[in-house]
Symmetry: C2
Subunit: 311 residues, 2 copies
């Protein structure tokens, strides 16, 4: 049986990037290994950025090479530019996640160049990737597609325009992230329907934060639109360490539980996933881990999707 | 403009019933008054149960009479049996919320009688209510309709059967609660579609807990089915005080935010709602209040539904 929905762990990148603590490489690799063993099929393991900007990722090479040893795991990494992509190609990463912002202001603040410059760089990157004998999957990301903390609302037309531009430039798939946690289910439906209508069969993933409690509702809205890949992080890792309770990505355990309880196969073993939390808490003792499933446990008589479908 | 969705505060009943601390009557009335002023149009203010069972509600009469002084507020109270309904009639409460469990085991544990005995009592209650010159609205509740901590899954056919039985007995409206936090969006859709198909135009409300993080996703699923009234509690009050992080009802602030951000008018002023939290925290200093909106604030450029629709 194939999984119906893929949940992708991004805590090692999106989670750790907001936490000053350096997690030792061995702990990162143990996390990746055990989460892969729990059935998480794709993990964004690191970010290829200059270590002086984000020292959390100084071990990007070791983490990538270690993760690539794990059978059947799709190993992804974030890149802000072609230089990052080159590192990914050298290391042999399976998937390169490029991200630009649909909001001009956010793109300027985040990567200090215009959207058009980011797009031009993506074209270079895509060309470089195409030249490889054994090439990685190239994913184009549309940060702030669901709202921007500088500009507020982001026009859906702009999202669609840059989605199409990324595909024309050579993206194999897209990701639409709610970068700053502004999304609501109605907006999610508008944006994903508009993007999906333009890109045909190209896979489009979603990336939500649970900043205002609507993370899983947004996931449901995107699922209803046909989205079949979602980012999440173990324990809801992420957010700002100086804002208590400001959760990061949607909680992997709760997202997997919700989907499995709906009869949607994620391929994930919920008990194995929950068993991973102590490892993460030990690596980050000062960080609060989130999650309803972890505190409440599975409902009585709960049957995972795989078993329910077979019954 | 009329509100499209009614969010009903149940923290004074469902929230306080799980908290040993007695909240002074004056604090309860200040909470009710200020939340009504923030635009919450219906509040379940207390429960008519013997004070020896739930001393939190020893002031049920004063709270009811105080709440009835507030203009335009629908004042509701929970009753487990006809004796409770009689108290409500004497006090002049606007709405009587009767609850029985669809799960036989849960009903036996909760009110020490069979479902059929509860139903028979409801028929007596409905007859009594009908005899009043100025009669309250009578709401029939179907506890454990979305799962039972004793029996696990609850057959949808049983939910529909008791829904129809409550309507035939004289319920003016129904409420379908996820009593123990087992619901998922797929189940919500199955149950609400089945119930709504049988009861015609009769209002059917939903009551969700956020036990496993899926509360607002369940709300969205029910909203999609046509449900237009939802229970919630300020700060997510409720759950078990001995289980840290075990939230109770869905968070009123986040539910209102999600709906307003979707362009659904709740009639609620989000800032006024948030301004209420310190009052609640002062009354219950040892209780953790939940809520994403409270920690993150409104998105930049956020426009409430009422204003957005007028624009």
């Amino acid at each position: 049986m194939t999984r119906e929905v893929t949940l992708r762990e991004v805590g090692l990148r999106d989670g750790l990037q907001s936490i000053a603590t350096f997690v030792p490489t061995a702990d990162k690799l143990a996390w990746i290994r055990q989460e892969a063993a729990a059935g998480v099929a794709e993990i964004e393991v690191t970010s290829y950025v200059p270590p002086k900007l984000l020292p959390q990722f100084v071990d990007a090479a070791e983490v990538t090479l270690g993760a690539l040893q794990i059978p059947d795991l799709m190993v992804a990494a974030l890149v802000p530019n072609t230089r990052g992509a080159q590192r990914g190609l050298e290391l042999g990463v399976h998937k390169i996640n490029f991200v630009m912002s649909v909001s001009e202001t956010h793109n300027m603040k985040n990567v200090r160049r215009s959207r058009e410059d980011s797009l031009a760089d993506f074209r270079t990157m895509a060309q470089l990737v195409r030249e490889q004998a054994s090439r990685p999957i190239l994913c184009g990301g549309l940060a702030t597609a669901l709202g921007c903390s500088y500009e507020g609302d982001v026009p859906v037309d702009d999202v669609v325009r840059y989605a199409v531009a990324l595909v024309e430039a050579g993206a194999d798939e897209l990701i639409v992230p709610d970068t700053v946690g502004y999304a609501n289910p109605a907006l999610v439906r508008r944006v994903f329907k508009a993007v999906l209508a333009e890109v045909g069969d190209l896979p489009v993933a979603a990336h939500f934060h649970d900043t205002r409690g609507t993370g899983l509702a947004n996931l449901l809205a995107a699922l209803d639109c046909g989205v079949r890949a979602f980012d999440a992080s173990l324990g809801g890792l992420g957010g700002c360490p100086f804002a208590p309770g400001a959760t990061g990505n949607i909680v992997m355990e709760d997202a997997a539980y919700m989907l499995e309880s709906m009869g949607v196969d994620t391929g994930i073993d919920l008990d194995a996933l929950l068993a991973l939390r102590p490892l993460l808490q030990a690596a980050l003792p000062d960080v609060t881990l989130y999650g309803g499933l972890a505190r409440a446990g599975l409902p009585r008589g709960f049957v995972a999707a795989r078993a329910a479908l077979a019954a």
